[in-house]
Symmetry: C2
C-alpha cells in the first residue's frame, strides 16, 4: 500500500514536472527540409525551456554555408528530418537564465556550429570545445542535456542556447554581415592564426567561396602575400579587390606552372573533389598545408602515402572551426578591423531559400547568402 502511494506520488510529480517543462518550452517557427535534398517548407516546433545558463535569442540573420547543403543532402551520413539548418546566426538577446552574466537583454549574440559540450574533458578545458567527444551541433545534433531531442538551427525566429556557446557581438558591428563569421570566419581565422603567418609570407587559399574569401581577408590583414586558387574566371577581380596578389584558375594548366615549393602556408577550403597532392607539392619545405574544406563522404579527394614521402617535410593537418574563446577573439578582431564577408541578403521564405541552395550547389553564389530572418512569416 505504501509502495502504491509512493509510486502514485512519483507519478504525479513526474507528470507535473513534464507539464511545467512543456509549458516552459519555447514556440518556434522556421524553414525546414523534410527529406534528403528536398526543398524548404515552413515548420513549427518548440525549443527546450530556458535553463539557468541559457539565453533566448531572437534571430536577426542566419547565413547559408556549403556544409548546410552537405547535411540537407545527407552527404555526411544519415540525417533526421524535418531539419532546420543554420549554424551562422546573429540575433538579439531577449531573455536570460538566472545564472547568466555574460549577456543582458538587448545585447547582440552570435551562435556558430556548436551549442554544448561536456565542459570537463581536456579539450573543453583547453578552450577547444569543438573537439569534445560530446560536442553538440547547433542543428542535426542530439541534445543529450534535453532528452536527446534533435537540435534545430538558425533558419528560425529564435534559438535557446547556453551562454557559453554564444559570443557577444559588439553593438557597432555590421549586423547583416556578422552571421558568416560564426563558421566561415572562425574556420579560416583559427588555422591562419595558429600557423603563425608572418608579414610577407606566401599564403595560398584554395577555394574562393564563403570560407575562402574570409581566409583571403584575414591572410591579407596579417600581412601575407596571398594567392587565390579557384575554378572560375568570375571572381578574379574580387580577389584583387580583397588584396590578393595573384589569382589562379586551376582549370588553366598554364597558370599552375612553376608553383611547386612556393607557399609557406596553404589553406584548402574546397568542399568538392580536387587534387590535394597538387597543393602539397606547392607547399614549401617546413611549410603547412591545412585543410578545412570537407567534400562529400562518397566523393573524397585522396592523398597517396608516396606524396608525403616525395614532398617530405611539409605538414598536413585538418582544422575544425575554433573554440569559443577563439571565436570571441575572431569576432572582436573582425569588427575592430572591419573584416566582413561579402553577403547577399535574401528573404526568409521557403522558395527563396530553396532557390538559394540550388544556386550554392551550382556555384552561382559568389560568397555568402544571408537570410534576413525578420522577414520570416
Amino acid at each position: 500500500m505504501k509502495k502504491i502511494i509512493g509510486i502514485s506520488f512519483l507519478l504525479v510529480f513526474v507528470l507535473s514536472s513534464m507539464t511545467i517543462a512543456q509549458e516552459k518550452r519555447i514556440p518556434a517557427k522556421g524553414l525546414a527540409v523534410y527529406e534528403a535534398g528536398g526543398g524548404f517548407k515552413p515548420y513549427e516546433f518548440t525549443r527546450h525551456a530556458i535553463g539557468d545558463d541559457d539565453i533566448l535569442i531572437e534571430t536577426m540573420y542566419a547565413s547559408i554555408c556549403h556544409s548546410d547543403l552537405h547535411h540537407t543532402h545527407q552527404d555526411w551520413g544519415t540525417e533526421i528530418y524535418p531539419m532546420v539548418p543554420g549554424h551562422e546566426i546573429v540575433g538579439k538577446v531577449v531573455k536570460v537564465g538566472k545564472n547568466v552574466t555574460k549577456f543582458k537583454v538587448g545585447d547582440y549574440a552570435g551562435v556558430g556550429c556548436m551549442v554544448n559540450s561536456c565542459g570537463e574533458c581536456d579539450y573543453c578545458k583547453a578552450g577547444l570545445e569543438q573537439y569534445c567527444k560530446k560536442v553538440m551541433m547547433t542543428y542535426h545534433g542530439k541534445d543529450w542535456a534535453h532528452g536527446n531531442e534533435i537540435t534545430q538551427g538558425g533558419y528560425s525566429n529564435n534559438i535557446v542556447v547556453k551562454d557559453r556557446f554564444a559570443v557577444l557581438v559588439p553593438k557597432n558591428a555590421d549586423m547583416k554581415k556578422v552571421a558568416p563569421l560564426l563558421c566561415a570566419g572562425i574556420t579560416t581565422y583559427s588555422p591562419l592564426r595558429q600557423s603563425h603567418i608572418k608579414k610577407g609570407d606566401n599564403v595560398a587559399i584554395a577555394g574562393f567561396g564563403g570560407l575562402g574569401h574570409m581566409a583571403v581577408k584575414y591572410a591579407v590583414a596579417l600581412g601575407a602575400k596571398v594567392t587565390v586558387f579557384d575554378i572560375t574566371e568570375d571572381k578574379r577581380a574580387e580577389a584583387a579587390k580583397m588584396g590578393a596578389i595573384k589569382y589562379v584558375n586551376v582549370n588553366n594548366e598554364s597558370e599552375l606552372k612553376g608553383m611547386d615549393d612556393s607557399f609557406d602556408f596553404i589553406l584548402s577550403t574546397i568542399p568538392a573533389m580536387y587534387n590535394p597532392s597538387m597543393y602539397l607539392k606547392m607547399t614549401k619545405f617546413k611549410g603547412d598545408f591545412a585543410i578545412v574544406g570537407l567534400p562529400a563522404f562518397n566523393n573524397q579527394p585522396t592523398f597517396k602515402v608516396m606524396d608525403f614521402v616525395f614532398c617530405a617535410g611539409r605538414n598536413v593537418y585538418g582544422s575544425q572551426i575554433g573554440g569559443m574563446k577563439e571565436t570571441q577573439e575572431m569576432l572582436d578582431y573582425s569588427v575592430t578591423n572591419n573584416i566582413y564577408p561579402e553577403v547577399e541578403i535574401i528573404k526568409a521564405n521557403a522558395d527563396t531559400v530553396t532557390q538559394a541552395y540550388k544556386n550554392v550547389l551550382a556555384g552561382k553564389v559568389k560568397f555568402r547568402y544571408v537570410i534576413d530572418m525578420s522577414t520570416l512569416k
Copy 2:
C-alpha cells in the same frame, strides 16, 4: 688554317684527356640484376677515376634494404640494367684524392643512399642534401658529374665517392653491423630526433622490419614508451627485448581497440599496403604522424581528405633519410650508445643474395641481411 690547327690541338687534347681518364677508371666487380625482378649474377664494370675530392673504398659489408627490392623490381619507375644495388655500405678507405682531409687511407667509411648533390642550393647549404634537386643516388642514379653514367651500388668490391658523401666510421664500431645504419638508421633517427620526443612520450613504430627495429631502438634510447605495430606474431619477443612496452599484431582486431588518440608520435616504416588513417586516428591532438615507408607506386595506401578534418590537429609529414651532417651525428650516436641493427650475415655469392631477396619479399627475414663483401669471388 689557324682555325684548323686550333681544332686539331683541341681534338688531341680531348682524346688524350679521355685516354687518361679511361686509364684511371677503377675496375670493379659485383653482383647485379640484369632485368626487372631477376636474380643476381656476377658483373664486372668500372667506376669513374678518383677525383681530387673523392675516396676509394674497399667494400667490407653492404646490406639489403626493402627499397632495393622496389628498385630491382621496378616498383618505383623504369630502371636501367644491369643494376648493382646496395646503399648501405661500410668499408675501408684505400685511396684518397689530393683535396681530401676528412679521411686518410686505413680509415673506415660509410656510404648511404646518395653520393652527390649540387652543393649550392638552399637544401645543400642547410645540410639537407637529400632534398637537393640534383641529388645523385648511390645506385640507379645518373652521374651528371661523370658524363651521365649510371651509378652502381655497394654489392661490389669497391666504390668511389666524394668525401662529403661518406661518413667517418669510428674504429671501435661493430663493422659487420654498421652498414644498415646508413639508410635504416638515419631514416628513422632523423624524424625521431626532429620530432623532439621527450622522455615518457608515447611513441608508436608501425612496421617492425629493417627500419622499424632501428626506430624502436632509437625511440627507447630517447626515453619514449614504445608500442610496435606489425602483422606477424614472430617478432613479439624481439620487440620486448628491444625495450618496447607493447606489441600489437594489426591482424588481431581486438588488439587495436581503445588505441585512438594515444600517441605523441607515430612513425610508419611500412613498405607495403596498409591503412594510414588508422594510425592518424591513433595520433594525439598536436601529435605527429611521420611517414618514411614507401610502398610500390602501383599499390599505394591512401588518406582521404576527410580523415584530416575528422582527426584535426594531427600533423602528417614524410621524411627522407637525413642530411650528411645528421648522418654522421647518427653514426656517432649509435656507436657511442651501442645501438646497432639485428643482422644476419650472408655470403656475397649470386645465389645466396638472390635467395635473400626472395626471403625479404616473403617477410622471412626478421630484420636485416648484411652481405659480407669480402667473400665476393
